[in-house]
Amino acid sequence: MAAVTYLELLKLGGSEVLLVLAGLVVLLVDLAVMRDEPRQNRMLLAGAISAVGCFAAGLWALQDGITGRAFAGMLVIDRASQLVKVVLLMMTAATVALSVQGRFTRHVGEYFSLLLFSTVGMMLMVSTENILLLFVALEIASLSLYILTAFNEENPQADEAALKYFLFGGVAAAFLLFGLSVLYGLTGSLDLREIGAVLGQRGVDAGVAVAVVLVLVGFGFKVAAVPFHLWAPDAYVGAPTPVAALVASGSKVAAFFLLGKVLSTGFAEVAGSAAWHGVLSGWAPVLAVMACFSLLLGNLAAIAQKRLKRLLAYSAVGHAGYMLVGAMALAGATDRGRALAMVVFYAATYGFTTIGAFGVAAAMERAGESDRIDGFAGLSSRAPVMSFCLMIFLLSLAGIPPLVGFAGKFFLFGSALAAGPGLGLVWLVGFAIAMSAVALFYYLGVLKQAYVVPAGERAGTLTVQVSVILTLAVLTAVVLLLGLYPGLLLDPLTRALAVGM
């Protein structure tokens, strides 16, 4: 039974515990002490406490020697999961920084504590190999995000967005749970490793097929892959912009890490093949189809968008397609740890970049403008620093070297091609590369507005909040630095995952 004492549990899950504590403190302080203060002060204090919480949790995660697999795979703490947690905490911290000078909610304490709780959910997602906790953690993260989406008092459509997000998520969760139940029925276990072992003996049959597809529906919702992406554009637009940034970044990183783990431990033996000359049943063809349509629809629909957040939403769908292509490499038996590292690297760097782009949208909204793309006209003269940051983010998203988006794509496609000759990923990689040419189209459209089109007459200089500009500057630095030295993140990630698998 419990071979691990509760003390050890506190040690293993220290980051999560710290973050929960921080969340509760924020809630208490805000409700008890700061109740009658002006909103700006409340925001600042709550933001500061949250940031400290993230920092402390991150420090805890960076400690050496906290590794272990406790409670029958319920908690699997290794270097890789700790590293991903640090990335998640950085993203949450960036989200907090983007929020502190916002005006979208009066419920300050609740807002920040829910941000932290959703991060706890994501952190639990990355540190479990048990489908019970997998489900619970997914729900913690999702439920907090549904609620956070409804927080936006500036946007009358926030409730609609939250309801759509919720209903879609609820149905997807039901599919996922049903899939997990079939998985349990087939294998008699909740532990992904044991599941993987049993499935390995069993091979692909109808029962496995249905379980795999059901589970992939749940993940497809979480990562916003076609056709399970339909909530994403609406939710991104309705949610408070920093929350949308977190949905696009942290949530995606956690989901892809977890998906990678499920695919490489639980479903390792039922991959099948997506080669066009010999499709074999398994998750590979399913993911291939999802990836293909995500790439196509995400990149095409983004072209038609008039608002930055909606454009980013569709581009997020497209990027989910790239990451799914990378996840396909897990089908090859050669070096799964490395393949997963590439996916996580891409997701993490994409997350940082997209938070930055959302930050620009937030700044525009905060300055009393909307995120309409034609409102970006003349941004280079109205807010030179911010428009420079925007340029870096968008070019990185488009995959222009030497920014990090290029490095991510390069390694991602490389791992997909190296995964094995029998997998037939070449057509998929080719398609992904072709779609990234299309993607340039709409990113350049935004940049054209910012840099080429002159500002309207009444448009003066934009005032951008200090917190926002600092966050953007830090994120720009990250994008540039990781672009020049991808090894800073990629190397530890690869090492950690190589050990972990």
Binding site: V213, F228, H277, V286, I303, A418, I433
Partner: protein
């Protein structure tokens, strides 16, 4: 010494990069500082590059590599680095030298532009990226620079972004070349997956262009049971090269890119960016040769990839030459001629190997830069006029420009013996003649040579001869004469003209120094080669071609002065009564001119009828054919390839609307999509079960 220079070579791209960074923070009022920084940095780079070139000129078999570890990922290491070998040294020296001259020219040309500072910043960035590209010892580094070159050219072509055409052209250039780059990226990623490295050469022999990697690549089985992986990778890389170097059908961006400032056209379309594709193919030539079947007597290497390159090059050379005949914009003629010449380079590369293609690249860089800068000088002198129909007689007012332009024109046309273009093109035709697969590329190349001479003669006749034909109604009466450009602009012309003539002696069949150098060998003097039968035969052919082209050009355009801009093209004219074209002249003071011309023209017409049957029958018939083809080609270009590209863009847009329309706002439809999606995926999954 050479060791030290190899290490110093990294400064060649770094110096302009630093200059670009410094200019980026330079305030607008300090205009001179910006140009001084850029020119100074480029000058230093040029110095280093030329010394490196001279150092390795004595030891062409050397290849010095400088690699450093960029990344450790798990247990693999990715190296970046640069190298000094004949190819990189020649390219670096050429690019930095031509670049320096263009920078200096820009100082005069852009003197009155309000964004002078920014222009030099972009130029320096472009120079840095291009120089980084040529010395890169890693396909990855090369690709990074390659994309930076694309980005910088996007900024430069769209420099006058207040012109909507310029903005559109910049976007078109960026996106079209990106289409090619996608192939390059895929090829690169694949190469990495197949060989595990992207470093070209290492001292230990683990590079992807060295025997070990190539052997394993050659031994690999067919991909998808169809095609050898080496061939596929080579063709993917060629996609990128074709995009950058404007090969059909990815050439659509190049003529449009003429919207940028003229020095930019010179920089991008003459010496550097467009040549990058040819350079890339030359760099990865060992990869193209994998699995080659050697053909005994003609030392030609034939592989599927090289065959494709040869055909594409030959087709482009001819196709673009046809179109150039029917253009009226001075820069667009040069742009199509560039496309055509790039086709020649690929033809040479595919049929004859690195040296043949690269030698033409080097000579072309000089004389085409000369022509573009000359055109810039003409445009500058004629008050921003670009339509050759409204020029004329410029020879009288711009003697230096005329003289240098004539040199460039003759080099491009391939006038024998004294001009570098003759020797390099002759080399290509020679290679094509000896190509064991087919003789058709040789015929296409020869026909292209005729056309080249023809359209260049036409252009020169229009621009420099005949009366002045400035735009009517603009400010006639005291119509401003064209004026000669300042020295800062003519000096580069003179220097380039010198090289356009002088480079030829390094590449004659008697002493093929340049070719041997590029192949990494020492050259031997052998006059006997010059008189071997085959060489003479090919030389004779190209001589006939050039003479015929220039003769025909003169026949149609030079024999009688082109009097009026409104007059249709000389060939069209013969079908329509002359006075129809002239009756628009309403002003009395032009009546005299009109009657004289009318008389002249009628008389000329009379003699022509006689002439045509006695002397120029054949010339005329072929001339009609040429013009017919040219117009058909232009029609195809405007309504086929180019329209196809635009149509594709529009199609994407429409698809975008359709994609977005899927999102109709009803949550029920979202959920239905989820259900249907699940059911479909389940069907897919169970397809192969049981």
């Amino acid at each position: 010494m050479i060791e030290k220079l190899a290490s110093l070579l990294v400064l060649v791209p770094v110096l302009p990069l630093l200059a670009a960074a410094a200019i980026a923070v330079t305030k607008r009022p300090h205009r001179q500082r910006a140009s001084t920084l850029a020119i100074g940095a480029m000058g230093l780079s040029c110095l280093i590059a030329v010394s490196a070139f001279l150092a390795i000129a004595g030891a062409p078999e050397e290849r010095l590599v400088r690699n450093f570890d960029w990344l450790h990922i798990g247990n693999t290491t990715i190296q970046l680095g640069w190298m000094l070998d004949p190819l990189s040294a020649a390219m670096a020296a050429m690019v930095s030298f031509v670049g320096l001259l263009i920078f200096i020219f820009s100082k005069g040309y852009m003197a009155h532009d309000e964004n002078y500072t920014r222009f030099f910043g972009f130029l320096a960035l472009f120079g840095a990226a291009m120089l980084g590209l040529v010395i890169a010892n890693s396909l990855l580094l090369l690709f990074i620079c390659w994309e930076l070159v694309g980005l910088a050219s996007y900024l430069l072509i769209g420099f006058w972004f207040h012109k909507p055409e310029a903005a559109a052209a910049a976007k078109k250039a960026f996106i079209t070349t990106r289409v090619g780059d996608m192939g390059l990226l895929l090829g690169m990623v694949w190469l990495h997956a197949a060989t595990g490295t992207l470093t070209f050469y290492t001292e230990g022999g683990e590079g992807c262009l060295q025997a070990g990697a190539l052997d394993s690549l050659g031994a690999a089985g067919l991909t998808a049971r169809l095609i050898a992986p080496a061939t596929l990778i080579a063709l993917l890389l060629f996609c990128g090269a074709a995009g950058k170097s404007g090969q059909v059908p990815l050439h659509v961006w190049l003529p449009d890119a003429m919207e940028g400032p003229t020095p930019v056209s010179a920089l991008i379309h003459a010496a550097t960016m467009v040549a990058a594709g040819v350079f890339l193919m030359a760099r990865v030539f060992p990869l193209l040769e994998v699995g080659a079947a050697m053909h005994g007597e003609s030392h030609s290497v034939v592989t599927p990839a090289l065959t494709v390159i040869t055909w594409v090059g030959a087709f482009t050379a001819l196709f673009a030459a046809f179109i150039a005949v029917a253009q009226n914009d001075i820069k667009r003629i040069l742009a199509y001629s560039t496309v055509s010449q790039l086709g020649y380079m690929f033809l040479g590369l595919g049929a004859g190997g690195v040296a043949v293609g690269m030698f033409h690249l080097l000579t072309h860089a000089f004389f085409k830069a000369l022509l573009f800068l000359g055109a810039g000088s003409v445009i500058h002198g004629c008050h921003e006029e670009q339509d050759i129909r409204y020029m004329g007689g410029v020879r009288r007012w711009m003697p230096v420009t005329f003289a240098t332009y004539a040199v460039g024109m003759m080099a491009l046309s391939g006038v024998p013996l004294f001009f570098s273009g003759f020797w390099s093109k002759d080399e290509i035709l020679h290679a094509a003649h000896g190509w064991p697969v087919s003789h058709i590329p040789f015929l296409m190349g020869s026909l292209g040579a005729v056309l080249t001479a023809f359209y260049m003669t036409r252009q020169v006749c229009y621009v420099f001869f005949g009366p002045q034909r400035s735009r009517e109604g603009a400010d006639h009466g005291k119509a401003a004469h064209p004026h000669e450009s300042p020295r800062v602009m003519t000096m580069p012309l003179v220097i380039l003209a010198t090289f356009a003539v002088g480079l030829g002696i390094f590449g004659t069949p008697a002493w093929p120094w340049a070719q041997s150098f590029l192949e990494g060998e020492h050259a031997h003097l052998a006059f006997g080669h010059l008189f071997s039968g085959e060489v003479l035969a090919v030389m004779g052919t190209s001589l006939v071609c050039v003479a015929f082209g220039i003769g025909a050009g003169w026949w149609f355009y030079g024999r009688q002065p082109i009097s009026s801009a409104a007059r249709p093209d000389a060939l069209e004219e013969r079908f329509t009564p002359v006075f129809v074209a002239l009756k628009n002249r309403l002003y009395v003071d032009e009546l005299y001119e009109a009657t004289v011309i009318r008389f002249n023209a009628l008389a000329a017409r009379f003699f022509d009828v006689v002439d045509r049957w006695i002397l120029g029958g054949a010339v005329a018939v072929i001339g009609y054919l040429v013009v017919g083809f040219a117009w058909i080609g232009r029609f195809l270009e405007d309504h086929g390839v180019n329209a196809g590209f635009d149509l594709g863009c529009r199609g994407i847009r429409r698809g975008a609307g359709a994609g977005a329309a899927l999102q109709d706002g009803r949550v029920h439809n979202y959920l239905r999509a989820l259900g249907i999606g699940f059911a479909t995926l389940l069907l897919l999954m169970t397809w192969g079960c049981h």
